[in-house]
């Protein structure tokens, strides 16, 4: 991962581990991120539903892999096959550790820690898919782009198939 860091001036900050899915910039609270890993061999688990990409072996641990694009309902580009490949973000949730497939890891970005309406926060853009809208915990206004922080607990809650 590139060690790119952007600093928000003034006030207490929080760090987000950021990545892209299509042209969206997303982030997850870094305290819940265990590690970022390169693409891995994934073993598919048949009958498990489209959001689950399979399982992977991380140094002897078997982790469930969530296909984050499908989970968040973000369209794939036409020429892009259903990817089971890509870098992974291994995150810790209340139901155990899970690996998320993302398009590209961006880096760590500092954001304002305070929640609530101020100029560093923005409403969710209107054109987002419902699954993603439900998973947003906050939208941070960066220049030139918005950073969508996702709620890992919600994203990683098993979905009924």
């Amino acid at each position: 991962m590139s060690a790119e860091t952007r600093v928000v001036t003034g006030g207490p900050t929080r760090r987000l581990c950021t990545f892209t899915l299509g042209d969206l910039l997303l982030g997850a609270d870094i305290t819940a991120v265990e590690e970022a890993v390169r693409e891995r061999d994934i073993t598919a688990v048949p009958l498990a539903g489209p959001t689950m990409a399979g399982v992977l072996n991380l140094r002897g641990r078997i982790l469930s892999v969530i296909d984050l694009r499908t989970r968040l309902g973000i369209q794939r580009d036409i020429d892009m096959p259903r990817s089971t490949n890509g870098p992974h973000l291994v995150v810790r949730t209340s139901t155990g550790s899970v690996s998320l497939i993302v398009d590209r890891l961006v880096g760590v970005i500092d954001v304002a820690a305070e929640s609530g309406a101020n100029e560093s926060h923005a409403p969710a853009p209107p054109h987002l898919p419902d699954q993603l809208r439900d998973a947003i915990s906050m939208v941070h206004r960066l220049s030139p782009q918005l950073l969508i922080e996702i709620d890992l607990e919600r994203v990683c809650t098993p979905v009924a198939v």
């Binding site: 061999d41 689950m52 399982v55 469930s64 969530i66 899970v98 009924a160």
Partner: protein, 710 residues
């Protein structure tokens, strides 16, 4: 909780267990000095430690019991049933105090004064009665046990304990679980290392790898051993359980144990605890007869429940047998019918052993009335469910008038198991070796796999085995082309064995079982996952779920109906193969004359003169259109159809291929007319009238058409 207090609870629970066990011994031999000594010491320890922790209720109760025990041990009174019952109740009360301490850190507020009075009364009464014979046993002395007699055994006990505490330590089971997890990772790392070293071809590395390899294997067996406990650990409670059950139903029972040192994994042991309890209760309540009935049958008044345990091929087999009346199969049949589990005909078709196994069905109970002990219909299904949950099986067999045997088979350990590695499509899968019966290679032309009414079957030494295609179970693209080379793994899930079609068998491997997490909880086809030597993951198949998914029981009932047809000659039914000639025109072929079902490529059908033939099994098979043959008119053949569906029928050593439109199903037909000279007989199958083709007649006609003298 305070660590010392926790240790007191653990230790006292063990002591109470000893008391229970030894009281059972005492009941057989009321004057057994070893048993009395052991009970006394255990009670004394509880009393002493309770005093130390300031637990007055426990202390007083234990003290009262000790008083009674002192008298028994001194021979002032002889242990009778009432003494033993009272002492058992004391043990139970102490247990509830202990469990209360474990949760609330204080004694339970059970009022045990009445119990204490009873115990003391028992001392007094019998002491008085015994007093004239033994002057030394005055009540005064008996309350405080004579020091001379207590000191000696106590000292023995102390020294015993010292030696055992020098060589054993208590370890929290969580530590053992962690150890096992780490061991699993080490095994995986070792597997990877061995593979990598083999590629590197470096002498020094190879030697080192070799050593690590051996040490890991040794270590693994030791670590597995730390989790092993003798089956005695759960059997210990059985005599007491049997006694209580027997008392409740007015019977006499003794318990015999064989192989109580057989060791098995802690987790497995816990899993069989409930099944064991239910089996023993069932044996005592339903199996063993009343003393009068036993005497009338020429048996001793006291029934025996025998527990046997042994290792068998990586499994542990636990048998619970009684010498009772066996299972009342007619009663089970009637009950199953009443509860709507099966139809009358289906029940009549089942073998007695099959019927006996119905007692494992959920909610099943034959007890006429609901008793305290059994008859609520929850019980025996727990036996099978629990055994299966950990990859085991439960079975019951019986000999009328001589007894019933429950057999529970469970794997030795759950964490690291031998497994068969198979390939289906691109992926590898592991099947626990414990469920694999055998592997059969299906021949290249696919003729080993038949399609009966949509269900795939294989004839294994004459018996029909339902087949499950792993690819279609996994929703992968079904094997569209006839599989070139497939293997059938015969598996034992619940009940009947079934075959699993896989692409390839890779061999056996020891695998470390890892659970799949909550994200895959909705997929019941997999029992877990494991990391293979190359670092990739293989999923572990759940054999029971595979069998259930593939609805094997339907084939089973078809097979049963065949069995019925052969075993109940008074009911003239024949299994028939129903085929479709045209959309609504169906006829049936007697199944016994159907040798195989084939699907020939149209390109393979050759014309020789007027005959249509195919090369088949190094021979030439004549094909005849069944519809033509029966004079039902030619069906215009679909020009796009690339296949000829054929039933190969056999008569007096000659084979004939009958072209049909579609194979429908296997059914049971009641013959209506028996005229052998017509081409068909009318019969009733599945409630509708159908023509059954007379094969003999058909051959004659067929051969005539072909211009051969019949």
């Amino acid at each position: 909780m305070d660590e010392l207090l926790h240790e007191f609870v653990v230790e006292s629970t063990e002591n109470l267990q000893t008391i229970d066990e030894q009281l059972m011994v005492l009941e057989r031999d009321p004057e057994d000095p070893d048993a009395l000594g052991a009970i006394f010491r255990a009670m004394h320890t509880i009393k002493g430690t309770a005093g130390f922790f300031d637990l007055p209720r426990i202390e007083r109760l234990a003290h009262g019991a000790e008083t009674l025990l002192g008298k028994l041990r001194d021979g002032a009174i002889i242990a009778s049933v009432s003494h033993i019952t009272a002492l058992l109740i004391v043990a139970d009360t102490l247990r509830s105090h202990l469990s209360s301490i474990e949760t609330t850190e204080s004694e339970s507020d059970i009022d045990s004064q009445a119990l204490l009075d009873t115990v003391l009364q028992l001392c007094e009464q019998q002491a008085d009665a015994a007093a004239p014979n033994d002057a030394s046993a005055s009540p005064q002395l008996a309350v405080v046990p004579p020091p001379t007699t207590t000191v000696a055994p106590d000292r023995n006990e102390a020294s015993d304990r010292n030696t055992s505490s020098d060589t054993t330590i208590r370890v929290d089971t969580g530590v053992l679980d962690d150890l096992m997890t780490l061991m699993g990772e080490l095994v995986l790392a070792r597997n990877e290392l061995v593979q990598t070293a083999a590629r590197m071809n470096d002498t020094g590395l190879s030697a080192c790898t070799q050593r690590i390899n051996h040490v890991t294997s040794d270590l693994r067996s030791r670590v597995v051993k730390t989790r092993m406990r003798p089956v005695r650990a759960v059997w210990a409670a059985i005599p007491r359980l049997a006694r209580d059950t027997a008392v409740a139903c007015g019977k006499q029972v003794s318990v015999r144990m064989i192989g109580e040192d057989t060791e098995l994994d802690k987790t497995v042991l816990e899993a069989i605890k409930d099944p064991l309890t239910h089996c023993v209760r069932n044996s005592v309540d339903h199996g063993i007869e009343d003393p009068e009935a036993r005497l009338a049958a020429g048996k001793s008044a006291e029934g025996t429940v025998t527990l046997r345990a042994r290792h068998d091929n990586g499994n542990v087999v636990v048998e619970i047998s009684d010498d009772g009346a066996g299972i009342n199969v007619e009663g089970v049949r009637a009950k199953a019918l009443e509860q709507g589990l099966f139809t009358e005909t289906a029940l009549a078709a089942m073998s007695d052993r099959h019927v006996a196994n119905l007692i494992f069905a959920p909610g099943f109970s034959t007890a006429a009335t609901v008793t305290n002990v059994s008859g609520r219909g929850v019980g025996m299904d727990v036996v099978r469910t629990n055994a299966e949950r950990i990859g085991g099986t439960a079975d019951v067999s019986f000999v009328p008038g001589q007894g019933t045997t429950f057999t529970i088979t469970v794997p030795l350990t759950l964490a690291i198991i031998p497994a068969l590695i198979v390939v289906s499509g691109e992926d590898r899968f592991a099947i626990p070796q414990a469920s694999v019966l055998e592997v059969v290679r299906a021949t290249a032309d696919g003729s080993d796999i038949e399609n009966l009414g949509g269900a795939l079957v294989h004839r294994l030494r004459g018996a029909l085995v339902a087949l499950v295609d792993l690819r279609s179970s996994l929703n992968a693209q079904p094997t569209a082309t006839p599989p070139g080379r497939t293997q059938i793994v015969i598996l034992r899930g619940t009940g009947v064995p079934f075959g699993l079609i896989v692409d390839e068998i890779l061999g056996n491997e020891e695998i470390v079982v890892r659970p799949l997490d909550v994200h895959y909880a909705n997929v019941d086809l997999f029992a877990g996952a494991t990391v293979m030597g190359d670092g990739k993951i293989a999923l572990i198949l759940d054999v029971t779920a595979l069998g259930a998914n593939a609805s094997v029981p339907e084939i089973e009932s078809a097979a049963n109906e065949q069995e019925r047809a052969s075993s109940h000659s008074d009911e003239p039914t024949v299994p028939v193969l129903v085929v479709e000639l045209d959309r609504d025109d169906r006829v049936a072929l007697p199944l016994h004359s159907v040798a195989r079902l084939e699907k020939f490529q149209l390109d393979d059908v050759e014309l020789t003169g007027m005959e249509r033939v195919v090369q088949y099994r190094d021979d030439i098979l004549q094909l005849l259109n069944l519809s033509d043959l029966l004079g039902r008119g030619s069906v215009p053949s679909d020009p796009d159809c690339r296949f000829v569906v054929t039933a190969v029928v056999l008569h007096e050593g000659r084979e004939l291929g009958l072209e049909v439109e579609r194979i429908v199903e296997v059914a049971e037909a009641h013959s209506v007319d028996h005229n052998r000279n017509t081409s068909t007989q009318t019969a009733i199958a599945n409630g509708s009238v159908i023509d059954v083709v007379t094969i003999e007649n058909l051959f004659n006609r067929g051969l005539r058409i072909l211009g051969v003298a019949a």
